[in-house]
């Protein structure tokens, strides 16, 4: 086997066009990636040239960009304590309008918190630190949030007598915290999709509800006072009135992680050039398989090593290895270079950990490698260069194009990016889907229907199937 691989490697490295094609894939990927931000210029009206408001949102305790604006009626709690209140139902509010009890590190937007709340359409929830969400019962009017040490417990009751724990959170909020009642109501969004364009129409909303029977345990200081966390809205009036221990609170905003990619740039955006690089790699991989058939060299190869399956395996190993390196280098260069240009152009970048970046870089290498193996197998099967390249491009790039350039509605777009080899691009996804945030999770927004591993497995399945068929065909057919 070793000498077969060596022979294939020699074939590859001595054809100048193939080596050039593979090398060119790298700058191609990087340059196309740079094209996106290069064409953009943000015109910010900041007085001192600072970034536009809203362009760099606050970040949560773990660095996730978040929305954190709501109306808070609060007091300062020191040490352990609890707050109990009865909340009137949010009727006619947005499904994710929230009203409940919260313990928050400070009134600074983005600070750590834990909250138990009723919602407009999703029952009672316990949420903390933006990303975490625990569902509770659908109907419960009494809420209680207690803190003991670093443990925060949210509980609900229908009658104030019998309490059910919704969830607990371990948070180190420090000794002094702001705690109390809050109301939020997100933007109302209506998405209409027509060809090539998704238009989002929306307007800000507010929700109003009443809290009464408010009782507190522990060491609470100051009187109840209201704060519009995250800044007061310019369009919606929010605030609080108190009468005989009944608090009527109107709030606006939301407390969630940001998911809409439109607000910033993510790693996937930097890798758009991968499509160009991949086409170059696919052409070389195809030629690596089909040229032998066209030139008749295949007969010499089979004479030298009659075990035909080995030849295909050796080709797959050589081209897969080269493509892996090309993919890794392309991604490793694209991500920092594109990010630098995006920052210079004033974009907000979704923060990604080094671990995630490495995963995406290696993932791109694997994507290139498996796609190249698929091309070699398909090339051996079809023996036609043009047909193979077209099949590869149509299988890998066209579904993504139809889904991402949003020509197709979400349903068929999801279908195409799950069953075609293009599902493999899921391996590059870095954005996380949050069930507690209603947003559009389509390929056009950077969300693939399958998980990273699942999507990649689909591509691998295609490669395995093609390799098996090609081995079978090579054995049976005349060379």
């Amino acid at each position: 086997m070793k000498h077969v691989i060596h022979a294939e490697w020699t074939k590859f490295r001595t054809v100048r066009g193939w080596v050039v094609g593979m090398v060119v894939a790298i700058p191609l990927t990087v340059l196309i990636g740079l094209l996106g931000p290069a064409g953009d210029s943000f015109h910010c009206a900041g007085p001192n040239g600072q970034k536009c408001a809203g362009q760099s949102p606050p970040t949560g305790p773990d660095g996730t960009p978040v929305f954190d604006s709501f109306y808070l009626v609060h007091r300062t709690l020191t040490g352990d304590g609890a707050i109990t209140a009865r909340v009137a139902p949010l009727t006619g509010a947005e499904p994710w309008a929230k009203a409940g009890l919260i313990v928050k590190q400070s009134t600074r937007a983005g600070s750590a918190y834990a909250a138990v709340m009723t919602t407009g359409g999703h029952g009672v929830r316990m949420q903390y630190d933006y990303t975490e969400d625990i569902a509770g019962p659908v109907n419960a009017r009494w809420l209680r949030l207690s803190r003991k040490g670093n443990t925060l417990t949210g509980a609900v009751s229908a009658d104030r007598g019998h309490w059910t724990t919704v969830g607990t959170a371990q948070l180190d909020l420090g000794s002094r915290v702001e705690a109390g009642m809050f109301v939020s109501s997100p933007q109302h969004v209506e998405r209409t999709q027509s060809f090539g364009d998704i238009t989002e129409d929306g307007y800000p909303t507010s929700a109003t509800t009443t809290f009464d029977e408010v009782t507190t345990d522990g060491e609470w200081r100051t009187g109840w006072h209201g704060t519009a966390v995250g800044g007061a809205s310019e369009v919606v009036t929010t605030g609080m009135t108190e009468q005989d221990g009944r608090f009527r609170i109107t709030g606006h905003g939301d407390i969630t992680p940001i998911v809409a990619a439109g607000l910033g740039r993510n790693v996937e955006n930097a890798l758009v050039g991968v499509f160009a690089g991949l086409i170059a790699v696919l052409v070389v991989a195809t030629l690596f398989a089909t040229s032998e058939h066209r030139r008749g060299l295949i007969r010499t190869s089979f004479a030298a090593n009659p075990r035909r399956g080995q030849l295909l395996a050796a080709k797959a190993i050589v081209i897969g290895g080269v493509s892996f390196v090309v993919g890794v280098v392309s991604a490793a260069l694209s991500i920092p270079l594109v990010a630098e240009l995006e920052v210079a152009k004033g974009f907000f970048l979704f923060p990604t950990s080094t671990g995630t970046e490495i995963r995406v870089i290696v993932g791109t290498g694997l994507l290139f490698a498996v796609a190249a193996v698929l091309a070699v197998a398909a090339g051996s099967l079809l023996r036609r260069g043009a047909g193979t390249v077209t099949a590869m491009t149509v299988g890998l790039v066209l579904p993504y194009l139809l889904a991402v350039a949003s020509v197709l509605p979400a349903g068929p777009a999801d279908l195409l990016t799950s069953v075609t080899p293009a599902a493999g691009f899921a391996i590059q996804q870095t954005l996380r889907e949050y069930p507690q945030v209603s947003a559009s999770y389509t390929p056009a927004d950077g969300y693939f229907p399958l998980s990273q591993a699942g999507g990649f497995a689909v591509l691998c399945a295609y490669a395995v199937l093609a390799t098996v068929l090609a081995t079978f065909a090579l054995r049976r057919r005349d060379a």
Partner: protein, 244 residues
Amino acid sequence: MRVRGVHAEWTKARTVPGTAWLLFGVVALTVLLGALASGAMPEGGDPAKSAFMGVTLGQAVVAILAVATVSGEYGTGMIRTTFTALPRRLNVLAAKGLVVAAMTIAAGTAAVLASAAMGDALLPNGLSLAAGPILRAATGSVLYLTLIALLSVGVAALVRDAATATGVVLGLLYLTPIVTSLVADPDWYARLQKLSPMTAGLAVQATINLDQQPISPWQGLGVLALWAAGALLAGAATLRLRDA
């Protein structure tokens, strides 16, 4: 002389076993994707764009067909025989272009008519070719495919190798819309959409919100025609200057 060249090219195209399959592929894939898109058209969608969306897939097969007529001869060495018989190389290229264009018009017309019939059956409000804009979209789609064929002939004459030529053509067609979709600046977005051969060319299929399109239907097809002319010119120049 020209007629004999065309006749020779026609004989070659006719007798290669793949041609019939490829022409069938153009029709089948175009109709298939068109039916999928028509069945799933969202409210407020463009009926003509849905019905004829299959063109985005069918064009890939048109590219194979067109590339094969040029690159196939380089692959087998047949090109030297061809040039010995017909030493005026530009005539050969013109004959190839003519034959490929004729085949594409035939297959494209069949594909578009079948897509229109599918669209009529699957779209909520049907689709009638009698309506002016729909007829323009249908005719434009056939012309679009024809221009893609000519573009592919030009690129194939330029790079010779079949796999590489298909890669270049499909890369040019499919990559530009993906890159464009990432550009946030509206001016640049519109500019790139006007220049991209696929997006501009397919503007001919738009029948609603015409004022919001980046380019008017026939102008868009004109942009694609310029791309095809450019590729043919570059191909012709290389063909004349290089050894066969």
